[in-house]
Structures are given as structure tokens and as C-alpha cells.
């Protein structure tokens, strides 16, 4: 169907451009001249390449000015509107002049150079965007690596004005909360994922699949609000437990989707062979299906841990933060990202240094988790 559509579209465009060629091709016009004229004179310059285009664009420009005056818009917004018209003129002029080139050889050279130019633009844009990431990574590593030593890892943050101090409370807190979140989310996520892959056609599967999609899109701050009302308010205090639950909710969709995708790719014959030997269903799942898809599920779990270990927003109203080492689940608990947030927005240089060190640690955790996941997926040839 789509192929037909595109073929049609293509035909239409082809005939259109041929018609244009025959109609206007009376006189050959220089692309460069058309480009320069439109660059400097906008709609007026466009008249050289295409008379209709020039008139249309002039009318649109006048309309924008008139409407702008009627609405009493500011000079700036008028300028933006006219700038858009200007750019449209340049594109129109370029295209119109391109159509008038008569010599086949010139046309081909022209189209080839256009293609090369486009490719260089694409390559440039695609690679230039890795720069911000590299700059961020280098900067964090440079700032953070000098902070990290044994003292830094084993002490709580120093009070204002004192040098030294570490992030042991945040390290321990992050570890505990991620651990509890995993304990909650991994079984639930795997079981739900198994259900979705085993019964893809049922009504329940449709709705829970929809819910996974929704859950994936829920902003993390909203999860924080909701868990605040589910756990923090009834208990009357910020607690590590509530933080873990919030993180578990963030983790669920990734675990579910990766389990589902991995299991769906396993051949049915595996399951059928086991069932035909008289193995009960639950043992087939546990002993055959899960081990076969283990690498895929594992990489999904690791990706989800890498995701939640850096989540701050759901912890703001749940685990809250704590300047001391705490292992109690019903008390506020510090975490790496939350520590970075509080200390980064503080006015003290010592605290900033602490935050750089913590950022470095967090970044290392995330990078290592991601790289190990990559290695797993490559070694076991999993497609995520």
C-alpha cells in the first residue's frame, strides 16, 4: 500500500518537475545569481527566478506586516515572521533557478554536487553532536577524579567551612535504595514481561501493555509526587523505603519490555519440546525459557539500574536526603544524585568539590553498567 503511495507521489513529482522544465525553461537562469538576489532582496530578488513566486512572497510579506500592525505585535515578532518569508524566498529561488538549467551535463554536475554537499552536511551534524558528550565527560572526570580517595569514600560530608569530608552516606544510600528497588521491580517486571510475551492476544495483555507504555512516559517528578502520597504521608516521614518504591516504579517498564522482547524472539519449538516431554508449564518457563533469554533479560535489568541510579526527581519528596549514614528504611536517606543536587546548588566551594567527586562516581557507575551491558548483548548476540 505504502509502496503504491510513494510510487504515485514520485510520479506526480516527476511529471510536475517536467512540466515546470518545459514551461519556464525558455531562458536559463543562474542558480548563483538567483541565490544572491534572494539573499539580499528577498521577495523582490525572487522575481528574477520565478515571477509567480516573487508576487506570492511579496503578498505574504505585506500580509504579515498588516496583520502584525493590526495586532500591535512587537518589532521583534514582525522581524521573525519576515525572516521566515526571506528564507522561504531563498529556497524557492534556488529551486526555481535549478529547474531552468538546460544543459544535461551541467544539470548532472549540479545534482551530484548537491548530493555531495548534503552528505557532508549530514556527516558534519552527526559527528558534531558527540562533542557536547565528550566535553561533559572530560570535564566531570577532570574535576572529579582528584576528589576521589579513600577518605572521600568512607566519610560523611563535612559541615560548612571544614575541608575534607566524603560521600559515604550517599554511596551507601544509593546502594541500599537501588538494591531494594531491584528486589521489588525485577520479579514483578519479569513476571509481567513473561505474561505479556506468553499471552500477547488477551485483553489484559493489551491493557497492561498500554500501561507499560504510559509508565515509560510518566515524568519522574510525577512518580515522586504519587509515591509521596502513597507512602511518605501515611508513614508521616520521608523514608528510604518510599525512595526505593519510586525507583522501582521507574525501573518496571524497562525490565518488562526487555523481558517481553527477549522472550518473544525465542523459537516456539523450545517451549513445545519441553511441554511435549510432560514438563509442567511453570517449570518450562523457569527452567527453559528464562535461561534461554537470560542474557537479554539481564541486560535489560542492568540498563534499568543504570537509569534509576541517576534519577533525582523521584527522590526529592521520598528519600529526601540525610547528611549522616543511615541504614534505617523508615528514615530519610541520602543518595548520590540527590547529594549532587543539594551540594551543586549550594554557594560553598568545598561543597561543589564534593559534588564533582560524587558526579564522577555516579558517571563511572553509569558508564560501567552501560559498557558491561554492551558486552553482554554482543557476546550473547541479544537484540534489545
Amino acid at each position: 500500500m505504502i509502496i503504491m503511495d510513494i510510487a504515485n507521489q514520485h510520479n506526480q513529482q516527476q511529471t510536475l518537475s517536467m512540466r515546470q522544465t518545459f514551461n519556464i525553461a525558455g531562458k536559463q537562469k543562474s542558480v548563483l545569481v538567483a541565490f544572491l538576489l534572494t539573499l539580499f532582496f528577498g521577495p523582490l530578488g525572487l522575481i528574477y527566478a520565478s515571477v509567480t513566486g516573487g508576487i506570492v512572497m511579496l503578498l505574504i510579506g505585506v500580509a504579515i506586516i498588516v496583520i502584525g500592525k493590526l495586532l500591535a505585535a512587537s518589532i521583534m515578532s514582525l522581524a521573525y515572521g519576515l525572516a521566515i518569508v526571506w528564507i522561504a524566498c531563498m529556497i524557492w529561488g534556488y529551486n526555481a533557478a535549478k529547474q531552468t538549467i538546460k544543459n544535461i551535463e551541467t544539470r548532472i554536475t549540479f545534482r551530484n554536487s548537491e548530493s555531495i554537499l548534503y552528505k557532508s552536511l549530514i556527516v558534519f551534524l552527526a559527528f558534531v553532536i558527540t562533542l557536547p558528550l565528550i566535553i561533559v565527560l572530560i570535564y566531570i572526570i577532570k574535576q572529579g577524579v582528584t576528589q576521589v580517595n579513600w577518605h572521600f569514600l568512607t566519610h560523611v560530608p563535612a559541615p560548612v567551612g571544614e575541608a575534607g569530608g566524603g560521600i559515604s552516606n550517599a554511596l551507601l544510600g544509593s546502594f541500599i535504595m537501588v538494591l531494594i528497588a531491584s528486589v521489588i521491580a525485577i520479579p514483578v517486571g519479569m513476571l509481567a514481561g513473561i505474561y505479556l510475551s506468553e499471552n500477547p492476544k488477551t485483553r489484559l495483555a493489551y491493557y497492561s501493555g498500554l500501561c507499560v507504555d504510559i509508565l515509560q512516559g510518566v515524568p519522574s517528578i510525577v512518580v515522586g509526587i504519587v509515591v509521596y502520597f502513597w507512602i511518605v504521608k501515611p508513614l508521616g516521614t520521608f523514608s528510604a523505603l518510599s525512595g526505593s518504591v519510586a525507583l522501582a516504579i521507574m525501573m518496571l517498564p524497562i525490565v518488562i519490555r526487555s523481558t517481553e522482547q527477549t522472550l518473544k524472539m525465542l523459537p516456539d519449538s523450545l517451549k513445545e519440546a519441553a511441554l511435549s516431554l510432560g514438563v509442567p508449564y511453570h517449570r518450562v518457563i523457569i527452567k527453559v525459557i528464562i535461561p534461554c533469554g537470560f542474557a537479554g533479560i539481564l541486560s535489560g535489568i542492568m540498563l534499568s539500574i543504570a537509569r534509576i541510579i541517576g534519577e533525582t526527581a523521584p527522590l526529592l519528596f521520598t528519600a529526601f536526603g540525610n547528611p549522616y549514614v543511615s541504614t534505617s528504611l523508615t528514615k530519610p536517606m541520602e543518595s548520590l544524585p540527590h547529594l549532587i543536587f543539594t551540594y551543586a546548588t549550594s554557594p560553598y566551594d568545598e561543597w561543589h568539590n564534593l559534588a564533582w567527586g560524587a558526579s564522577f562516581m555516579l558517571l563511572m557507575f553509569v558508564l560501567i553498567l552501560n559498557i558491561v551491558t554492551k558486552v553482554i548483548t554482543r557476546k550473547w548476540k541479544v537484540q534489545l
Binding site: 500500500m1 510513494i6 514520485h10 512587537s74 521583534m76 521573525y80 545534482r111 548530493s115 548534503y118 552528505k119 549530514i122 551534524l125 552527526a126 558534531v128 553532536i129 558527540t130 557536547p132 558528550l133 561533559v136 565527560l137 514483578v188 509481567a192 513473561i194 505474561y195 489484559l204 491493557y207 497492561s208 498500554l210 500501561c211 507504555d213 504510559i214 509508565l215 512516559g217 510518566v218 515524568p219 519522574s220 517528578i221 510525577v222 509526587i225 504519587v226 509521596y228 502513597w230 509442567p280 508449564y281 518457563i285 537509569r307 541517576g310 533525582t312 526527581a313 526529592l316 529526601f320 544524585p337 549532587i340 543536587f341 551543586a344 559534588a355 564533582w356 558526579s359 558517571l363 553509569v366
Partner: protein
Amino acid sequence: MENKRLNLSNSQLKWETIFKRILIAMSVLLVMIIIGVLITLIKESWPSIKSLGIGFLWGKIWDPVQNIYGAYPFLLGTLLTSFIALIISVPFSYAIAIYLGEYNPKGWLSNLLKNTIELIAAVPSIIYGFWGLFVLVPIIRTFETKIHVAPYGIGIFTSSLILAVMIIPYAASLGITLIRMVPSPLKEGAYALGATRFEVIRRVIMPYTRSGLFAGVLLSLGRALGETMAVTMLIGNTSAVADSIKNAIFGPGNTMASVIANEFTEADHTQYLSALIELGLVLFFVTVVINLIGKRIITRFTNS
């Protein structure tokens, strides 16, 4: 002997039913979570919904001290940051999608670039925010002095820049998959007609993948709307509406997510708190709708 075997298979049968029930229970749990989220949000924001009505959305003043609540400054801030970020990020995501999908789909360079793009998404937003606060803000400040706007450094524009980098991977990685799915007979047909590579991309690949690429942009948008930490650190947190376009873009502002992050723990009376939660409810609805539309388009695209 016979009896024992029967017992065994009976107990296995029992376990099988239990296992199946657990599977169903977990799926039901998912649905319950979403319904629970919705009910909690609506219930807790009810005082605000009841007293302020729909006018809450375009009330221009947010003043908790006077007990006046209007969401307009935050809606504006959220839309501005997200759309500026989208405008900046779309050319890059398209470029990555076309480069890795069409020009260079295999080989070490392509793998390296793809992994790098995925790493952009993996870096926690708090780190982008921290880096932005100490590195990007001074740069933007100098830039703002040069173009003669008030040199805040922090503000809508700065957060949009960081957001743009953060959301690129979402549209890009979907785009790569979709562009690789374009059937080669289509492309080869166009080449056989004498089309250049640029023309194949523009007239065959782009029309074929257009809806999918649009879905990728929607997913990016969903991310941008809900992004909290980096924006909270960089946006400057002012609840006043800017007086001119220049100030709206370069001046400080607030998004829905950032105002919740900043004021939720400070909200001292019910009205204030429920107004904040209503913002959360609006955010929830908007992101969910955008995400679901995106997902729907992708499913339709990959199935046909």
C-alpha cells in the same frame, strides 16, 4: 507407586495454576499502578480543581503568599523550553538517523557513533544540570552580553540547549531503525532511474519514513516536557511572565516540572499543594498523550 505419581502430578498441576495466577496478578498490578497514579493525582489536586476550575490553566499570576494560582507562566515555560530544544535537536537527530541508517549502517565507525549517541541518553540529567550550571552558564552569559540582553546566564535558552542535547538520542535511535527498514527495491528503483543519493533520501526514504520520524520527534518531545533536574538547575526559577519575546527566551523562567521540584516540599497549605499537584496532573496527561500517539504511530509503521 501409582498413587505417589498421581500426587506428584497433582501438586505440579496446583503449582501450574498458582504460577499462571501470579503472572496474571502482576499484569493486573501494572494496570492498578497506572489507575492508582491517576486517582492519587486527581484526588490530591481536587481542592484546586474545584476552586480554580479550568481558568487555572491561563491564570497569569502565581503568588502562593496571596493564594493566587495560575499555571500560565509554567505552561509557557514548558512549551518554550521544549520547542526550542526540539528545533535545535531535530536537525541533529535526523542527521544521525540518516548517517547511521543510510550512509554508514555497518562497521566500527558506525558502531562507535551509535554507542556514543546511546551514552548521551545514559548520562544522568543531574550531571548535565551540574555541568551546565558551572560551564555553560558563564558561556551563555558572555554571549548574552554580546547580543545586548540582560546577562542572567541561567534561563529558558540555557535549559533548552542542555535539553536539546539530552533528547537527541530518542529521535535518533528510532530514526536509525526506521531508515534501515526502508525496502531496498524502492531505493534501487530510484537509483536505476538515475537519482542521486540526495534525491533518493529526499524523495524515497523521507516520504517512506516520515510518520516514523515524526513519532521519534514526539518521543523526544515527551522527554523534554517531563525533564526535571537539569532544567530546575538551569532555568532560574521565576514565576513571573516575561514582558517581551527577548526576555521570554533569554530570561529566567520556570517549567511545570521545575516548579514542582522547587516548591513541593515548601507548600505549607492545602490550596498551594493541590495547585502544584494539579500542575503534575496536567504534565502527566500531556506527556502520556504525546507518548501514546508516538507509540501508536510506531506500531502502525512497523506492522505495515
